[in-house]
């Protein structure tokens, strides 16, 4: 990427994720945007990084879990009802609840 007088591409390269996550201090953000205004390779690069984050957020695995077996569901439900009972027992004996 091209060198610029105010901030070079390598310098902003390090900050790009924080820029996309709106996590840059105002001054750094301003500097970065000034750089982008005059550097089309960096603009294209930011678009590619933003696209990568979008693809991660919307990623759906081609593999999905098979249907939950009845015994596995029962196991989970048992654990949940036991935990609820433990909470109720604690509440009755004057202990703290959830």
């Amino acid at each position: 990427m091209a060198q610029k007088a105010d901030a070079n591409c390598a310098e902003i390269f390090e900050m790009l994720s924080r820029y996309l996550d709106l996590d840059l201090p105002p001054q750094a953000c301003r500097m970065l945007e000034e750089h982008l205004a005059g550097c089309s390779p960096c603009v294209a690069f930011v678009a590619s990084l933003r696209g990568t984050v979008e693809l991660c957020r919307h990623f759906k695995a081609s593999e999905m879990p098979g249907p939950l077996r009845d015994d596995a569901r029962r196991q989970l439900l048992d654990a949940y009802t036991k935990a609820l009972a433990a909470k109720t027992a604690r509440a009755r004996s004057g202990g703290s609840g959830f």
């Binding site: 990427m1 091209a2 060198q3 390598a10 390269f13 390090e14 790009l16 994720s17 924080r18 996550d21 996590d23 005059g38 550097c39 089309s40 390779p41 603009v43 294209a44 690069f45 678009a47 590619s48 990084l49 933003r50 696209g51 990568t52 984050v53 979008e54 693809l55 991660c56 957020r57 990623f59 759906k60 695995a61 081609s62 593999e63 999905m64 879990p65 098979g66 939950l68 596995a72 569901r73 196991q75 989970l76 439900l77 654990a79 949940y80 009802t81 036991k82 935990a83 609820l84 433990a86 909470k87 109720t88 604690r90 959830f98």
Partner: protein
């Protein structure tokens, strides 16, 4: 499912309302499966980890006082379950990713630089290419060294906050940010290569003359 709805389901379950049980289980089972599948790439292991995680979560459901914490709470258990079954990947040796190696290739003489990059302005709508990009992404995530993969899975794929990710992985927030950036850059490179091979190359040129 948005985070707010997820919290509402947890709130009702904590209060003893069993009605959302199925929805809660199906939702988190799919999320944990995806997380562990991208970690271990073994279908059976990923299903086992999802069940084990949900079981541990329900066993200690009476410990969960704040429904807002349901997602990080579940993923802390999932992370530990993955660690227990961890298989050292020959594709993902533990190493540092440096910013230098992740800088894009540049051509030019310094005064007139050109960046070889795909056109990302309109990601393809074609379902086949979308699916192929998803596969490239899944492979690229699997190839990341563990410490980068664990951050991108939690931050970008499960959309946990920096603070929640830091807590789950027991590292500082600045470390989360540094690793996330490098992981994104590494994935970006793989995706860009794929897009360029599909003919969407676009030479972005510096406007300076």
């Amino acid at each position: 499912m948005d985070r707010q709805h997820e919290i509402e389901l947890a709130r009702r379950l904590i209060a003893g309302d069993m009605q959302p049980f199925e929805e809660f289980v199906e939702h988190f089972r799919a999320s944990i499966f995806q997380y562990s599948y991208l970690t271990c790439r073994q279908r059976e292991d990923a299903e086992d980890i999802a069940q084990e995680t949900l079981l541990k979560a329900f066993e200690s459901f009476d410990q969960l006082r704040e429904p807002e914490r349901i997602r990080p709470w579940i993923f802390r258990i999932a992370k530990n379950a993955c660690l227990m079954r961890r298989r050292k990947s020959i594709f993902a040796p533990e190493r540092e990713l440096s910013l230098d190696e992740l800088m894009p290739e540049r051509n030019g003489d310094g005064a007139h630089m050109q960046l070889q990059i795909a056109d990302w302005s309109n990601l393809p709508d074609a379902p086949l290419l979308r699916k192929e990009l998803g596969e490239v992404l899944a492979d690229a995530v699997a190839e990341l060294p563990d410490k980068y993969r664990s951050v991108i899975l939690l931050r970008d794929m499960q959309e946990l906050s920096t603070a929640e990710t830091a807590e789950i992985l027991e590292i500082g927030e600045d470390t989360v940010k540094t690793r996330l950036h490098r992981a994104r850059l590494a994935l970006r490179r793989k995706l860009d290569e794929k897009l360029r091979s599909e003919g969407t190359a676009n030479a972005a040129e510096d406007g300076k003359n």
